[in-house]
């Protein structure tokens, strides 16, 4: 039960982006299109899960004084490997994510989970936490990019990350004359972020009130 709860917490209640406010920089930057969000989300899930597992594996032998440098070496190595694999096998995705893949290294979600969870829990729980938090991040960037892409372009365009010429989904919801280009810019990112974060905040308050009522 506790494990399932831990896993579920990352999705909404302790969502890394909207609730813990970690990794906002990349969230604001890459959410211009759903395509980017999927690519970034998958990359973060992989890095977060593998880094959590590795850090949990060596948690008993890692000296406390140098744990942060050790975590950073592990995370940076994983991110570089992912970047090389994306460059080789999904060049189109590499083009759209560009600068943001190396930024995963300094994404606070990964170091945050390594320090606060993986270094204190067993491998299985750490992997679950990684997947849960990674999915939470992916959900957050997907929600933001859906809103931003639809409002700024009037539709959704999803292409195959391995071949940009292959369009998987091309949906037009309203004509170009009614689009709000503001949502494609950083200002739109902040507005979308603020609205979604306040919604999650309101949901958390509602949950707490419910729990309190139960206790009474």
């Amino acid at each position: 039960m506790n494990r399932i709860q831990n896993f579920k917490n990352g999705l909404i209640k302790d969502n890394p982006v909207f609730s813990l406010f970690l990794g906002i920089c990349s969230t604001l930057a890459i959410t211009t299109s759903v395509n980017n969000a999927i690519g970034m989300g998958v990359s973060v899930i992989i890095v977060l899960t593998v880094s959590n597992v590795l850090i949990s594996m060596i948690r008993k032998i890692t000296p406390d004084e140098i744990r942060i440098p050790v975590y950073i070496v592990i995370i940076a190595t994983l991110v570089t490997i992912i970047q090389m694999l994306i460059q080789a096998f999904a060049p189109a995705l590499n083009e759209s994510l560009g600068v943001f893949i190396p930024l995963i290294v300094v994404n606070c979600i990964i170091l945050g989970r390594a320090e606060s969870f993986a270094s204190k829990n067993n491998i299985f729980d750490s992997a679950l936490d990684g997947i849960g938090m990674g999915l939470g991040y992916t959900l957050a960037v997907l929600a933001m990019s859906l809103i931003r892409e639809i409002l700024s372009t009037g539709g959704i365009l999803i292409t195959n990350p391995f071949n940009t010429a292959q369009v998987l989904l091309d949906l037009t919801l309203f004509p170009e004359d009614f689009t709000i280009s503001l949502f494609g810019s950083p200002v739109g990112a902040f507005i979308t972020f603020a609205c979604l974060a306040s919604l999650v905040g309101a949901y958390k308050v509602h949950l707490e009130a419910k729990e309190n009522a139960k206790e009474k």
């Binding site: 980017n36 140098i66 560009g98």
Partner: protein, 170 residues
């Protein structure tokens, strides 16, 4: 002292393992990345001149050029095609520009990749920028993109450099 040695050794071992993993993956991905880039360049050259046969692009020796931005030069009919990589915010831009040897006008411009901010710096990949360059003198005044000057100015500087190289080659 013993503690310091222990810490140093631990960090060194972690770094060596990380280095080994990176070398292993680099070995696997490097040839694929090189092949991808080559294929992309061939596609871009054909995109510039669809009527050309790939064999008509003659590679020009660049070993004597002291340039950090020019990757390759090809000659096709009376134009020189430059493959250049210029700095931007991060990875900068890789592009192809063809310059007429006779009057130094820009014949065609194709941006291959840009590692800068999506939606800002990446505007150098888009048609309006391409259209603002083509047909204009490569050694004259060229427009940059307002709001993305850091990404587009190096491209313009690169084209100016290419123009001076064309003058030397001719």
């Amino acid at each position: 002292m013993k503690k310091v040695i222990h810490l140093t050794l631990f960090l060194a071992i972690v770094s060596v393992l990380a280095g080994g993993a990176l070398a292993f993956f680099n070995e696997i991905t490097e040839p694929v990345i090189a092949k991808n880039n080559e294929e992309q360049e061939r596609q871009s050259l054909l995109e510039m001149y669809p009527e050309a046969d790939p064999d008509q692009f003659v590679s020009v020796d660049t070993s004597e050029l002291e340039s950090t931005t020019i990757n390759k030069i090809y000659q096709y009919d009376d134009v020189y095609i430059f493959n250049m990589s210029v700095a931007g915010y991060k990875d900068g831009t890789t592009f192809l520009v063809s310059i007429n040897a006779d009057d130094l006008t820009i014949d065609k411009f194709v941006a291959i990749s840009n590692g800068d901010t999506s939606g800002l710096g990446t505007q150098v990949l888009e048609d309006p920028f391409k259209e603002s360059l083509e047909g204009n003198p490569a050694d004259g005044q060229l427009d940059t993109i307002s709001g993305a000057t850091v990404s587009s100015q190096p491209v313009v500087d690169g084209i100016h450099e290419a123009a001076s190289v064309v003058e030397q080659l001719d």
